[in-house]
Amino acid sequence: MLRWYFSAIDNQKLPPMKLLLIEDENNLAKDISTYLSSSNIHCEWVNTLNLALEKISAYEYDCILLDLTLPDGNGITILKELKKQQKNEGIIIISAKDTLESRLEGLQLGADDYLTKPFHIAELLARVHAVIRRKQFAGNNRLIINELEIDLLAKTLKVNQKNIDLTKKEFDLLLYLIGNKNRVLPKSSLAEHLSGDMADMLDNHDFVYAHIKNLKKKLSQAGAKDYIKTIYGTGYKWEV
């Protein structure tokens, strides 16, 4: 059985994805779980290493969000434990440490992704989707929203059965918007998503506007509905 990673998009009623959030900063954890829950992701939250170890031995998750610095130890222990138990959960490290060594250590021990604090929760959600997609999509990788049909592996878009030529950035932008559908995404979040590691270099997010404009134009020319809403110059929203 396959499970859609953009849960509600295809209008099928699916059980929510289960996610374990291991984070000792209560404020942050609350905001993350609120944000994810509205994407049909069931979020369980623990704030210590020991509680986390109990949870992962007892239950299965689609994805684990792991903070490395925990009050009772290093999150790396959990990676080792998961490996020992031969579990196959998708793991995203969320850490304040951004040294190359800690990145490499985490990824080598089986983490799927590494996100440095601070980050946009929209970005986190996009990464969660990507990890689950990689873990669970076997063969089927098509996403259908009304007249749009997206091939996630081939990275192509069809509108009303007709191929639309998108640049890589436009395609990334489209997925990011859809993944965070019905939410306002600030320009800075979109800019960071598009520019990856270089994001913190930029002090001008205007280039996002150009990409959005092109994407909107291509969609409307192909006869798609106008899904992308501009919100008072603050950001954009994919509305369905």
Binding site: E25, N27, L28, D31, I32, T34, Y35, S38, A96, K97, D98, T99, L100, K117, P118, F119, H120, I121, A122, R183, V184, P186, K187, S188, S189, S195, M198, D200, M201, L202, D203, N204, D206, F207, A210, I231, Y232, G233, T234, G235
Partner: protein
């Protein structure tokens, strides 16, 4: 540091110069004394000889001397003659007198003894004379002698200086060399060699103390920056998450949205500042790991393709002229940051419809950009938080980071305003 026209000199050469000056002056001043002394000795000696010859004459020749023998005597004796009585000559008289020398045809100085003498009841004068050393001969000889002395003295002093410099000052030069290679935060603290000279021993222990203290201060400063930046990351992450949640609230007004937007901007700046501070404190640590050969052309093209989008916003024209196969051995993270900071700088401080020119030659990268019409103050340029242009969003760390990386690898980085372009030139040849 010496000024342009006055090079600093070695301490020993300074003392050597003192010695040489003193010895030279002493020798020079003593020349007249030596001259008069030698001349007096010479004259006294000659006077004695003249008197002796007079006595000889009186003892050996006078008793049997006849008047008729006088012309013959005078004919065969050039320097002891019998002449007519001089007036008022009642006793021996010694004088200095020039005579014409027929053989050499020149006037020669002579010491002359006139002595009254009686031959057959008739009074005559006995003239005994001897050639004196010429004054100039005496002076030349003395000068020659002194010159010889001076040369020997100098050679001796120079040799001794070299010897002392090598032996006595060895400890000092060792210390100096160690200090020259020492760099705070990069190399280990120097260990000075033991020396048997009290002053150097003191110098070494004071330096050791000073260095240990500087290292401690440096390390705690690095640690502080790193800890502070790390500690800031969590509240920044919370703030970011709160803003993201806040933004999702229904029925936000336009004014509220706009306030949120500017909060996002501020947060982005804070993040950038924090990351850059962390980076500054980390550069030294990064540098020693993972050195690899980096192809600068590939790197520049990759970075340019990223920044093209930013440049496009200001309609900035890019002129790129890069050489193939320029490689440098460095850390890839640092060189990426280095190049991207330079490019970002060139875009950030540019004006609309401006120009950025990038040229890469063997060992030399040059990035120039249009911008403000006046040259930037070079002394402030590379300092942390030195904002030159308050209108931009830069945090004043970009160039500080560039400078720090350049310093680390000893690349030289210079700034000039050239053809209306603010131009940074990096020479990768270790300086």
């Amino acid at each position: 540091m010496g000024s342009i026209n006055k090079q600093p000199q070695k301490l020993l050469h300074q003392t050597l110069r003192g010695y040489v000056g003193f010895a030279g002056l002493l020798l020079l001043l003593s020349i007249p004394f030596a001259y008069f002394l030698m001349q007096k000795l010479h004259v006294d000696d000659i006077d004695e000889a003249l008197i002796l010859r007079k006595k000889e004459f009186q003892a050996y020749h006078l008793p049997n001397f006849t008047l008729g023998e006088i012309p013959q005597w005078n004919k065969y004796n050039r320097d002891i003659k019998l002449i007519d009585t001089l007036q008022n000559l009642t006793k021996d008289s010694l004088l200095q007198q020039p005579f014409h020398d027929e053989l050499d045809n020149e006037i020669e100085p002579y010491r002359v003894l006139y002595s009254p003498i009686r031959i057959e009841q008739k009074t005559f004068t006995l003239l005994v004379r001897q050639n004196l050393i010429e004054n100039e001969d005496l002076i030349f000889n003395i000068l020659g002698l002194y010159a010889g002395l001076l040369v020997l003295l100098l050679a001796g002093l120079f040799g001794l200086t070299q010897y002392f410099s090598r032996q006595l000052w060895k400890g000092f030069y060792d210390t100096l060399q160690q200090l020259e290679t020492f760099e705070l935060g990069k190399t280990d603290a120097p260990t000075f060699e033991e020396t048997h000279i009290q002053e150097f021993e003191r110098l070494n222990s004071v330096l050791q103390h000073l260095i240990q203290k500087s290292i401690a201060v440096f390390e705690s400063q690095q640690e502080f920056i790193e800890n502070a930046s790390h500690e800031l990351q969590t509240p920044l992450a919370v703030l970011q998450a709160k803003l993201d949640t806040f933004l999702q609230m229904p029925d936000l007004s336009q004014a509220q949205m706009q306030a949120l937007d500017s909060l996002y901007d501020l947060l982005a700046r804070l993040n950038r500042l924090n990351k850059n501070l962390l980076l500054l404190s980390k550069i030294d640590k990064l540098s020693f790991q993972n050195l690899e050969n980096i192809n600068l052309k590939t790197l520049i093209e990759k970075q340019v393709s990223f920044f093209e989008e930013q440049a496009l916003q200001k309609n900035i024209r890019l002129e790129i002229d890069v050489l193939e196969n320029v490689e440098i051995k460095t850390n890839h993270i640092l060189i990426e940051i280095f190049v991207s900071n330079l490019l970002l700088n060139a875009i950030r401080h540019n004006h609309k419809n401006g120009l950025i020119s990038i040229s890469l030659k063997q060992n030399e990268l040059q990035i120039g950009n249009t911008g403000q019409p006046f040259p930037l103050p070079e002394n402030k340029l590379f300092r942390r938080f030195a904002k030159i242009d308050s209108s931009t969003q830069g945090n004043g760390l970009g160039l500080a980071i560039i400078k720090k990386i350049a310093d680390l690898y000893r690349w030289s980085i210079t700034y000039v305003m050239k053809n209306n372009l603010h131009t940074f030139t990096i020479n990768f040849n270790k300086s």
